[in-house]
Amino acid sequence: MSSALDNRKTGTTTAGAGRSRGALASLLRLRELPVLIALALLVLITYLNNPLFLSPQGVKDLLLNATIIMILAAGQTLLIITRNIDLSVGSMLGLVAFGTGSLFAAMPDLPIIAVLAIGMAFGALLGTFNGLLVTVAKVPALVITLGTLYVFRGLNNAWAGGKQYFAGDRPDAFGALSVDTVLGFPIITLLAIAVVIAVAVYMSGTRPGRDLYAIGSDPEAAKVFGIKVSKRVFLAFLANGALAGLAGVLYASRFNSVGATTGAGMELDVVAAAVVGGVAIFGGSGSVAGAALGALLLTTITSSLTALRVDKFWQQAIVGILILVAIIIDRVASLRTAKKLRISEARNV
């Protein structure tokens, strides 16, 4: 058994050396780091060219623009981590936003907290529909939610017709949510940050949250391990619906008008934010914080390109390039880690 003893010895030395480098190494391994660096560079460059970019109003605008997408990206992360996806979020947001407008038109005195609760419940109902179709009918989420994207949008069209609700139709206090600030942060942004923190804690600190990662990492193995795959995925769809509902209510507070086309096409921005933020599209790895940073980065790019007076046409192309770069960086990084892991192992044996 001398070989076993030798192994033990080399084991302790490598482990010891690893620990001293551990903190820095794990910081560098963070998938969120490239996004953070890109964001910092972007803000810096824009600020040097146009100092107004970081004025209190400028910062507030940046945060407000990111708020809605951040909430949606948090919900989407729950699903993408499990190797699912929800393409119907834009349509869900539209339905809830228009519903919020209708609600205030019918009952102007309803407390804001009740509206938030109703909106989230409405979203959760729509999410339940998605979740049931995916987990019971066992059809890939991509197909199901592509279908409900059109179904929900169709409902919205039928309901709204040509009707729109404007900011003036809603109580002032409701609109103030997106105007008033606490410590420089708009209230709805604080709400979004609270959502991101709550989802992050759930995903990293609870057993059901960790199950989501296991499911996305290897769905078959998850079943063999006795993880309740269907239940977890269903609840993730439900939660994502509730968050889309919240985003829908806040959308009605933030923007001037809500109607039949509210939120159309938003699903792509949301998925893009998650992917750019380091959430692996095939599940198993990534974080809500990363997705939220991705949302902030994407909306900030649009603002800074405008501030830098770059042609609108280029803005979309640049967002696209960013997505590709994020995916390539991720791929290269994971290939490099895999190679490194193999080498370190070869030494051990």
Partner: protein, 515 residues
């Protein structure tokens, strides 16, 4: 049970040591296929118990029953004397049975520590998962096992040996009473095997009951306290390792009536069709040389994983090889080009008919003519009438029992599907047919028909290279037997030399070549 008392009169008399796990007369059938007729095994705390048997003896079915993957149709299953009925894997795990497969499945994106504790992560005071505590507990486990694995690294990229160690660590953390290891050493190097055995012995000394499944007798005799032999889905005997010899175990594993089962019609052996000269493929097989002559049936015997199929795939040009030469009727065969192999007169009937040999949704006729569509082309289109005539001709000759030529192949029985695959290749008029596991999954009645057919083909002067894990088939059919073990040919046996003992010995014993 008589055998047990014969072998161990003292033990059964005392009966002081209660078995931690006992499975008695367990049976499991899948439709008409009997996977396990009498699964019986008894594991005591603090012993390493070997389970041996040929491929198809029912070992994996037995393991799956222990693991909770299969529900036995009948039989008695007890843990520490209490009857148990597992409905799923989770229940088996909770009851204290941990199974480690040849290639464990871990979650590649999660850390090693989390893979050990998934679903049972330790919580801190806040009620949230405490990563520090999880890491510490994992480190302690690895320290006990004496292996240096970093609990914080992700599982992706770990060697199979390390993955098995992680599964063992998990089993320890769950305080498993029984650890089942299903051919754990098949993919390990020598050092890794030593490490695994050290861990297994340490666990045994702490009172864990271990069931160890292996084809390598040197390991079985080195490691295990008792040996249970299975054959044809049945329990044969249990012996104390100290009281038994390798020869006796081999006899019990293969001991059955053979010789008359598959009468091979005598064929005139002609000139060499296939000559394989020293082909090697790194990590897969090494220095393989043999020839097959017209009218001759050459069997490639050996255990699953010995590299037989890989050699066949290389010969047929599906996979590449690093060095060596292959000639067909004296002419060199282009490597890595199945089209060239077909043109040279080779045919390949793969092991997995459903995946590789047949297009299940196409009709019988289409499948038969798949390999020679070009012959029926008129002005760029396939001539349906010609195609049907050819298909009918071959189905008639091979006696394929299909309702109609137009029925989908998936509606046929396994034996008839195999005939369709054979017809498909025979229609190309081959010089040499490679047949991988010709009767796998085929019921006993049709088996002999397939054998007669293969024998017929040899009689017509076709050279046959047959891969088979079934000893009776090998011994009954083959003119010559090549035995492979761990990527090498360890024996060339003539029909006269080939018997169960000589084949099994060459297939399992490490006295030949080793790494």
């Amino acid at each position: 049970m008589q055998q047990i008392s014969n072998v161990e009169p003292a033990e059964s008399g005392k009966k002081q040591e209660q078995a931690v796990l006992s499975l008695t007369h367990a049976a499991k059938t899948f439709g008409p296929v009997v996977a396990l007729a009498d699964g019986t095994v008894e594991i005591r705390p603090g012993e390493i118990h070997a389970l041996v048997g040929e491929n198809g003896a029912g070992k994996s079915t037995l393991v799956k029953i222990l693991a909770g993957l299969h529900n036995p149709d009948s039989g008695d299953f007890r843990l520490s004397g209490e009857p148990v009925h597992f409905r799923n894997v989770a229940e088996s795990k909770a009851a204290g049975i941990s199974v480690i497969y040849q290639e464990p499945t871990l979650f590649p994106d999660l850390t090693v520590a989390e893979n050990i504790f998934i679903g049972r992560q330790p919580k801190g005071r806040s009620g949230l998962i405490s990563r520090a505590q999880m890491r510490r507990q994992a480190s302690e486990l690895f320290q006990r096992l004496g292996v240096p694995i970093d609990p914080s690294r992700v599982a992706e990229g770990l060697s199979i040996a390390d993955q098995q160690i992680i599964e063992i660590a998990k089993a320890i953390s769950m305080e498993a009473k029984v650890l089942v290891m299903d051919e754990p050493t098949a993919a390990l190097s020598g050092v890794e095997v030593d490490r695994l055995f050290a861990v297994a012995r340490a666990l045994r000394d702490k009172g864990t009951g271990i069931l160890f499944i292996s084809h390598r007798f040197d390991e079985v005799f080195d490691l295990c306290d008792r040996i249970t032999v299975m054959r044809d889905g049945r329990y044969i005997a249990t012996h104390r390792t100290a009281d038994v010899t390798v020869e006796r175990i081999v006899r019990e594993m293969v001991g059955r009536d053979i010789g008359t089962l598959f009468p091979k019609t005598e064929a005139e052996i002609g000139k060499t069709v296939l000559n394989v000269d020293g082909i090697s493929s790194a990590g897969v097989f090494r220095d393989i040389s043999f020839e097959v002559r017209a009218g001759e049936i050459v069997a490639l015997a050996g255990l699953v994983g010995a590299g037989r199929t890989e050699v066949a795939r290389a010969v047929f040009g599906i996979d590449s090889y690093d060095s060596g030469h292959i000639t067909v009727e004296g002419k060199p065969l282009k490597p890595r080009d199945p089209q060239a192999a077909i043109a040279a007169g080779l045919g390949f009937v793969p092991e997995d008919r459903r995946k590789q040999g047949l297009v299940m949704n196409l009709s019988v006729a289409r499948n038969v003519t798949l390999t020679l569509r070009n012959k029926f082309v008129t002005a760029g289109l396939i001539n349906g009438a010609k195609e049907r005539r050819a298909a009918q001709e071959w189905s008639r000759r091979l006696q394929v029992k299909a309702g109609s030529q137009e029925h989908a192949v998936s509606t046929l029985s396994g034996g008839n599907q195999q005939k369709v695959v054979l017809a498909k290749w025979l229609a190309t008029d081959p010089r040499l047919l490679i047949i991988d596991e010709p009767t796998r999954g085929i019921d006993v009645g049709t088996k002999s028909e397939v054998h007669r057919l293969i024998s017929d083909l040899a009689g017509r002067g076709i050279a046959i290279l047959m891969i088979s894990s079934e000893l009776p088939e090998v011994l009954g059919m083959a003119d010559r037997v090549l035995v492979m073990r761990e990527g090498r040919i360890t024996a060339h046996l003539s029909r006269a030399e080939a018997n169960p003992e000589s084949v099994m010995h060459a297939a399992t014993s490490s006295t030949g070549v080793t790494e």
